[in-house]
């Protein structure tokens, strides 16, 4: 998994690619937790190039969400493909995360 980090004010957009699964989850945690330690509380996870997410990847997203919500931050998800959206829906996580059609919309929603 490659992760490109984009800063938009106080929001960090993580443009991820490939899979977020048991094989890649440590790389995702390393990058996102480092940003938390540096003071970031608001994240957009841009999944435009993410083909697959398993339950362990979902766990990493929830872990990130829990950490930032303790600091009144949030994690928003954007651009899920049909398969990943199915996984979010059957696990009901589309109710836990705000999911946007694109990362720009998700980033702007922090200003509401």
């Amino acid at each position: 998994m490659n992760i490109k980090i984009q800063s938009l004010g106080g929001v960090k957009v993580l443009h991820c690619d490939g899979s977020l699964d048991a094989d890649t989850v440590e790389a995702f945690k390393e990058v996102s937790y480092k940003l938390i330690n540096e003071g970031t509380n608001n994240f957009v996870i841009d999944c435009t190039e993410v083909q697959f997410v398993d339950s362990i990847g979902l766990g990493a997203l929830i872990s990130l969400l829990r950490r930032v919500r303790e600091k009144e931050g949030d994690v928003k998800i954007s651009s899920l493909n049909e398969d990943v959206k199915t996984i979010f829906e059957i696990t009901r996580l589309h109710r836990l995360f705000e999911i946007s059609a694109d990362w720009k919309t998700a980033a702007k929603s922090f200003n509401r």
């Binding site: 699964d21 398993d54 339950s55 362990i56 979902l58 766990g59 990493a60 996984i87 696990t91 836990l96």
Partner: protein, 143 residues
């Protein structure tokens, strides 16, 4: 009579996940069965990943030298995927959805939603998760 059958073993290592997922997609594409469509390939490959994750982290507790046995059989109506590990198995297999902030425990629930039938059985000294996908299953999985 099956159109496809293949059995093999892999080490209990997350590095294998991506290639296993690709393998299911390639088998589905080559067989050119109308029922083994893109959605079916996703359901079966995602279930295989969850079953292998379960074997790696729960049954084998991260010990990579343990082997996971995988068997995949396809006929015109069904695909049967079997994943065997050294774990103790699952009594009264009926996975429930965990609470939304829980970080673990969704894998078997996902399999149960994506596949038509799932059984946890113990045979030949190993735990087998037997997952069946009916190509004519019209069940809505994300209602």
């Amino acid at each position: 009579m099956s159109l496809y059958h293949h059995s093999f073993s892999v080490k209990s290592d997350p590095h294998n996940i991506n290639s296993l997922r690709q393998w299911i997609s390639e088998v589905g594409e080559k067989l050119e069965l109308s029922g083994f469509c893109r959605k079916a390939r996703f359901h079966i490959s995602a279930s295989l990943v969850e079953a292998v994750d379960n074997a790696i982290f729960h049954a084998h507790k991260g010990m990579k030298d343990n082997l996971i046995d995988i068997s995949f059989t396809v006929d015109t109506q069904t695909a049967i995927l079997e994943v065997a590990d050294n774990g103790e198995g699952i009594k009264n297999f009926s996975p429930k959805l965990v609470s939304e902030y829980e970080e673990h425990g969704r894998g078997l629930y996902i399999i149960n939603q994506l596949m038509s039938e799932v059984q946890s059985v113990f045979k030949n000294g190993k735990h087998h998760l037997v997952m069946k996908y009916n190509f004519n299953d019209k069940r809505v999985d994300n209602e």
